[in-house]
C-alpha cells in the first residue's frame, strides 16, 4: 500500500486556484523531490498536506496511510505521522525549545496510546538528536526559534523531525539559505532517518541538496501542476536548463 496518494488535487486560496490537479504517489521508504519556480505552489502543496486551514480544497482526494488526509486537522495529521519542516519556521517567544518539543512528543504519544515522557526521560533523547544536528545544548532552553539564525531555525526543524519520528516528512526548502557545511549537517540528519518505512517529500529550488539527499523521484511543479517527473538526473537537467523547457513537453504526470 502507498503511504501517500494524491489524486487530482485542486486547492485555492482566497478564490484563486493555486493547485490545479496534482497527482502523486509516495510509497514507504521513498524519497521524492519537488522542484519548481517561485510561486508554482510547492508550499501550498506542503501546507495542504499539513492541513493548514487557509486553503480551500475544491477537488481531489489525498490518502495518507490508508486514511483520508483531507478530513484531518493539523494535529491529527501530525499524530498520524506527517511532519512538515516549515519554509519559514515560526518564532514562539516565552516557550523553551525543550518544553515545546516534549509537549509535542507527548501529544503524539498520547494519541498513539503510548506513555508520556517526563523531562528526565525526554532530555537525553533530545540531546542526542541535537548532537546529530550539531546544535549546542544552549538551544534547549532558548525560546522556540527566537533569535535563531536562518540556518539554526532549519536545523531546529530537523531536530523536531528526528524527535517526532514521522512516517512522512515534508521538507519545504529546508536547504534554502544554508551554507555548505550546514547543508551537509541537515542532509546527514535526514539521511540518518531514512528507512524502508519512512518517506520524504523534499521541496527545493536547488539540485545541490539532492547530491546529499539522493531522491528516488524528482517532480517538476509549474503553475500548480506536476509537469514532469523523473529520476535524480532530472534535477541536474533543471539546474542546467531552468524550468521553461519542461512546460513545452507533455508530462507523464499531467492529466
Amino acid at each position: 500500500m502507498s503511504l501517500l496518494d494524491i489524486k487530482n488535487l485542486h486547492a485555492s486560496v482566497n478564490g484563486v486556484e493555486i493547485l490545479k490537479g496534482i497527482n502523486l504517489t509516495i510509497n514507504p521508504g521513498e524519497v521524492h523531490s519537488i522542484m519548481g519556480p517561485n510561486g508554482s505552489g510547492k508550499s501550498t502543496l506542503a501546507g495542504v498536506l499539513a492541513r493548514r486551514e487557509s486553503y480551500e480544497i475544491t477537488q481531489g482526494q489525498v490518502t495518507f496511510n490508508g486514511k483520508d488526509l483531507l478530513e484531518m486537522k493539523p494535529e491529527e495529521a501530525a499524530c498520524e505521522g506527517l511532519f512538515l519542516a516549515f519554509q519559514y519556521p515560526v518564532e514562539i517567544p516565552g516557550i523553551s525549545n525543550a518544553y515545546f518539543l516534549r509537549t509535542a512528543l507527548n501529544a503524539i504519544r498520547k494519541y498513539r496510546g503510548e506513555e508520556e515522557l517526563d523531562a528526565m526521560d525526554f532530555l537525553p533523547l533530545l540531546r542526542e538528536k541535537m548532537r546529530l544536528l550539531e546544535m549546542d545544548d544552549k538551544f534547549l532552553n532558548r525560546p522556540v526559534n527566537e533569535g535563531f539564525s536562518g540556518g539554526e531555525k532549519k536545523r531546529n526543524e530537523i531536530v523536531q523531525m528526528a524527535v517526532l519520528e514521522p512516517m512522512l516528512a515534508v521538507l519545504d526548502e529546508t536547504d534554502s539559505g544554508l551554507d555548505i557545511d550546514a547543508l551537509k549537517v541537515v542532509a546527514n540528519g535526514v539521511n540518518s532517518m531514512r528507512s524502508t518505512e519512512r518517506s520524504f517529500l523534499v521541496v527545493t529550488h536547488y539540485q545541490r541538496l539532492l547530491n546529499y539527499i539522493v531522491p528516488d523521484y524528482v517532480h517538476v511543479l509549474v503553475n500548480g501542476r506536476i509537469v514532469k517527473s523523473g529520476g535524480p538526473e532530472l534535477a541536474l537537467e533543471l539546474e542546467e536548463k531552468g524550468y521553461s523547457w519542461t512546460e513545452a513537453e507533455p508530462a507523464g504526470a499531467r492529466r
Binding site: 501530525a78 515560526v90 516565552g94 523553551s96 512528543l105 523531562a119
Partner: protein, 457 residues
Amino acid sequence: MITATQAPEHYLGAFDQFNHRAATQLGWLKSLRQEGFARFAENGFPTTHDEDWRFTNVAPISSREFRPASPASIETDQLRSFGASGFECQLVFVNGKFSRELSQIESLPPEVRICGLAEELGTNAGQVREHLGQYLNFRRDPFAALNTAFLEDGAYVYVPRGTVLAQPVYVLFITVPSADAIMEHPRNLIVVEENSQATIVEDYVSLGGSTAPSFSNTATELVAGENAVVSHYMIVRQGDSSFNVSTLRIQQARTSNVATHSLLLSGALVRNNVHPVLAGEGAECLINGLFMANGRQHMDNYMLVEHVSPHCNSRQFYNGILSGHGHGVFHGRIIVHKDAQKTDAKQTNRNLLLSDDAQIDTKPQLEIYADDVKCTHGATIGQVEENALFYLRSRGLDESAAKHLLLLAFANECLDRMNSVQVREHLERLVMEWLPESASHSGEKPAEIERAWEEVG
C-alpha cells in the same frame, strides 16, 4: 477645618469614628490622617474627565457605602487554600489587620524589622515617622488621600544599611467579605537602606463565599537607599465583587535598582498605580506587569515614572490578556525633568484580545523637559497568531492545547523578568490556574503544574 466636601457623606462619619478609636493616637499620625481626609474631602473621587482616570469609571466604588471592615479571623487551614505555603517569612493581614498568629517570621538579621505597622508605631514610631507619608502624593491622588485618612496598619519592612535579606518577605492580605459592603486601607512601608537587598511580595486575596462587595484601597511607600536592590511583587486575585485600588510609590536614591512586578488576575475593578521617582543619579527601575481580565473585569495599569536625576534608566513592560468582556487599560506616563539628562526610558505594552467583546485602552504619555534623553514606547494589540497556532498544531498539539501554550508563552515573557525563583514559581502556578484557556484545556487540571521552562544543567 473640612469645608466644601466632595466626599460622599458617609465617609465623613466613618472617618470621625475611625479617628477616635484608631489603635494609634500619636499626634503627628492624627494630623497626617486629618490632612489625608481633608484632601479626599476636597477632591472627592475622580471622574473620567480627569485625564488620569479617563478609561476607568470609579462609580461602582464611589456610589457604594463601604464601611470600614471589622476585625475578622480565619483558621490556619484556610490559609492553605491560597496556595502560598513555602515562604519562610510570611506576614498575614486579615481585613487590613496584622495577624501575629497566622504570620511566621524567622529569626532576622540584627536591626531588621518585619512586622505590622501598627505594632511598630506602638514601639518604635520614630523610625516610621521619618518616612511614612513623606512620598505618597496624597495631595493629588484622592485614593492615596483616603488611604492616608484611614491609615492604621499594614506591612512594615525595614532593612538597615549593608544587609541582605536572603528570603523573600511574603505578605498576604486576606479580605473576609461580610453581609455589608466593606472597605480596608492597608498601608505598607518598605525601607531598604543603602547597599541592602530585599524582596517583598504583596498578595491580595479574598475568602470565597460572599458576593457582598469589598473595597481594598492599598498604598505602599517603598524607599530604596543608595545602591539598594529591591524586588517588589504585587498580586491581585480577589473575588468577583471586589474592588482593588493600589498605589505603589517608589523613592529611589543614587544607583539603586528597583524592580516591581504586578500580576492582576481577578476582581471587578482593579487599578494599579505605580509611581517611581528616580531621584538619585544612575538609578534603575523595572516595571513589569501581566494582567488577565475576563468576564466583566476591569483592570487599569497606571504608571507615572519620574526621572529627576541624570543617567537613570526605566523600563516598563506590560502584557495584557483580555477575554470575555474584559477591559484592560495601560496608561504609561513618563516625566523627564529638566535635569534628568541621559535618561533612558522605555515602555512596551503588548495585548492579546481573545474575544470580540474584550477591550484594551493603551496610552503612552511622554513629557520630556531635558534635551539629551532616549525615550521609546510601543504598543501592540493582536489575537493569538494563526501562524504560531498552526505551527504548534502541526507538531501534534490540539487547538486548545496550542492556544494554551501560546498564552503561557505570552505570560512567560513577563515571568521571565522575575529573578526570585521562589516567587516566580508562586506566580507561575497562579498564571497556570488563571489563564483563560486552562479551564477548557483537556478538561483536567494537572496534578502538579510543571514549568514551561525546563531546568537544564
